[in-house]
Symmetry: C2
Subunit: 386 residues, 2 copies
């Protein structure tokens, strides 16, 4: 039996469904896709209370609650649950593992039905648009035609933006957090070093590693790089500064072992237990290739056709996805006369800010959802008829 931690949501179980395949952005035809997902709360009879939460690079379907099997707590448990910012007493929350992932949805570790072997690097390159397409198939399967809100941070924000642009009739609110319209050279560069760390690990073996000989060192290094970029210099200084982890030990190579070194090593080691190296390659490349207006013939028309209202959120200390990138999204939407609320929060936690409990962020999301949902229901508007 798993140890019980505290989650307002209680125990939950994700489930996996096999859905009809589709053609990816780059023209690969999936015969079918498996999607691992979690739902929380209840779908109301008007079917207008759906909130789709989209996850970031290392996330999964377990958005909140405690997994019955593994004991893990959802990655956004602080924001999703009864009476929380995303109130499961009121909303029907859906979160699914992205395609290309390694937590139950079709990805490089899945068996390729054409070869009966794991895809590994024969997995087709996927895009943020493909992730969204898979989510749209899941919603179809669940009998949901429209969603009240799509919300996510980082890569989740890219998915939210993609929903609003590619499925304008289906999305009422779009809440992209700490994200951008396209990666900068520096964002690509950090991901590329992570990929190089994995691919230069001899265990990677062109992606054909076995479970007992995975490129764990490379993946750990990639994760360490990530962790530095997710934090602000300020919070690292406050958390670790130049504190040594312990007194020198005879086995130490160097006379000082800083606690920030210990922290990074721990983060690297624990990540490799729960993440697939090939998945890391595919998903970071999807991030790098993301361009909001990719495959959009006429961006001006496309943006004019967007029906969602937006709440765009960034964090002052986020140097990986700096506020300027959110402001670019806001400017573009404003220029097209879209309804946009923009909040730049002054948290010290860097890019990680969207994952860390924060009263202000909770209140902003809660208020925005509450106001819009009240308006929707007060006016007796059926979301499906917008």
């Amino acid at each position: 039996m798993v140890k019980k931690y505290y989650s307002d949501v209680g125990f939950v179980s994700t489930q996996t469904v096999r859905l009809p395949g589709f053609e990816t952005t780059f023209g690969y035809q999936f015969p079918y896709v498996d999607i691992n997902y979690l739902t929380l709360g209840n779908l109301n009879k008007e079917k207008n209370n759906v909130i789709l939460v989209t996850h970031a690079l290392s996330g999964n379907a377990l958005v909140a609650g405690q997994d019955k099997e593994t004991g893990a707590i959802g990655w956004w448990d602080d924001y999703v649950g009864p009476n929380k910012a995303i109130d499961t007493n009121r909303f029907f929350v859906i979160c699914s593992n992205v395609i290309g992932g390694c937590n139950g949805s079709t990805g490089p570790t899945s068996i390729n039905p054409k070869t009966n072997r794991p895809y590994n690097m024969e997995f087709p390159p996927i895009t943020i648009q493909d992730m969204v397409k898979a989510q749209s198939l899941l919603l179809e399967y669940l009998g949901i035609e429209k969603i009240f809100a799509v919300i996510g941070g980082s890569m989740g924000g890219m998915q939210a933006l993609t929903w609003a642009l590619h499925y304008p009739e289906k999305v009422h609110l779009c809440i992209p957090i700490a994200t951008c319209m396209a990666h900068s050279a520096m964002q690509i560069a950090f991901n590329e070093v992570g990929r190089q760390a994995i691919m230069s690990d001899p265990n990677w073996n062109q992606g054909n590693y076995t479970p007992d000989k995975r490129p764990e060192h490379g993946l750990a290094v990639a994760r360490m790089i990530g962790h530095i970029t997710y934090l602000s210099a300020e919070i690292m200084e406050k958390k670790f500064g130049r504190k040594p982890q312990r007194n020198p030990e005879p086995s130490d190579i160097f006379p000082i072992f800083f606690s920030v070194e210990s922290y990074l090593q721990y983060q690297g080691e624990s990540f490799v237990k729960r993440f697939d190296p090939n998945s890391y390659l595919y998903i970071t490349k999807a991030l790098d290739m993301f361009d909001w207006f990719q495959n959009i013939e006429n961006p001006d028309v496309a943006i004019r056709n967007i029906k969602s209202k937006f709440l765009v959120i960034s964090f002052q200390s986020d140097w990986l996805y700096p506020p300027e990138q959110s402001r670019q999204i806001v400017k573009l939407l404003k220029r097209a006369n879209k309804s946009v609320t923009y909040m730049n929060l002054n948290t010290p936690y860097g890019h990680d800010s969207f994952l860390i409990p924060n009263k202000e962020l909770s209140t902003i999301i809660d208020s925005f959802l509450d106001l819009e949902f009240n308006q929707l229901t007060k006016n007796g508007v059926n979301l499906n008829a917008i």
Copy 2:
């Protein structure tokens, strides 16, 4: 014959001298140390025109000119030479490879006289103070008692600071550029990921790799991380943006290969040809352990005893060694009533700014050296008698 490039200095040769050993900061006794060094210009009869240039992490003794053997051009050729910022017509310039390095000075690849094998990881941990101690032995060997100026960027700046504090009677001017008094948690973190990349490369083999099986992948990844931190996000965007390197090729794993990825891979690959992985571990650890007031019993007294005048320089776009770290040095010196000039330059190149040709930086260094040297010689002051 090596290809001739353009250098005002012309062809040069570094030389190596074997000097008496010394005890390191952490108590290791070197029986002797080899120091590889270069001198440019001529020592005047007053012996008061010596400028010691101290190099950064991946630097070496070849500060300027073209190496007769390898054809390489000095790493600061833009700033050191006849009529340049550091004018070799006027000054006697000395630059030596740091102890722990891999370009001719005693380091992990050297033969340990106690075992007749390369030191590898039996090399003792070294500090910035040890590097400076080795330089002071070199100066002694060259018959130089006092130096007019010590100047260096990044790790070179730490050495300059250490000279001023530990040899107060010997240094007239101290010019630390883009440096700090001690690494922050984030600076340590980036170095640690580089070290982990090297040490988790199976070829590292606890440091006992052979020349034909070095941990090159790990070192390349470490260098790639370094390169991202040496540039500003702005200049990366300008240089690379989201430009693809070329059209997709059948051998490509992913449909887009960005030029920033190509750049990083090239930087990694070329670095491994000229640098030793163990040296990278030792030198980055020396950087991380550096604390200007380490082993100083009474910092207040020590700083009061400093005799040098200072020119402290930082760069607005340098996020690895941010201007704030230079300002801390300046504040501390001002509080002790030292003579300090501080310049924060608005270059876009990030930490790399000190290595890139820049008229403003040249002028500042040139003017400062000129003014002070004129004053010294006009007043007929013998530097050795200050």
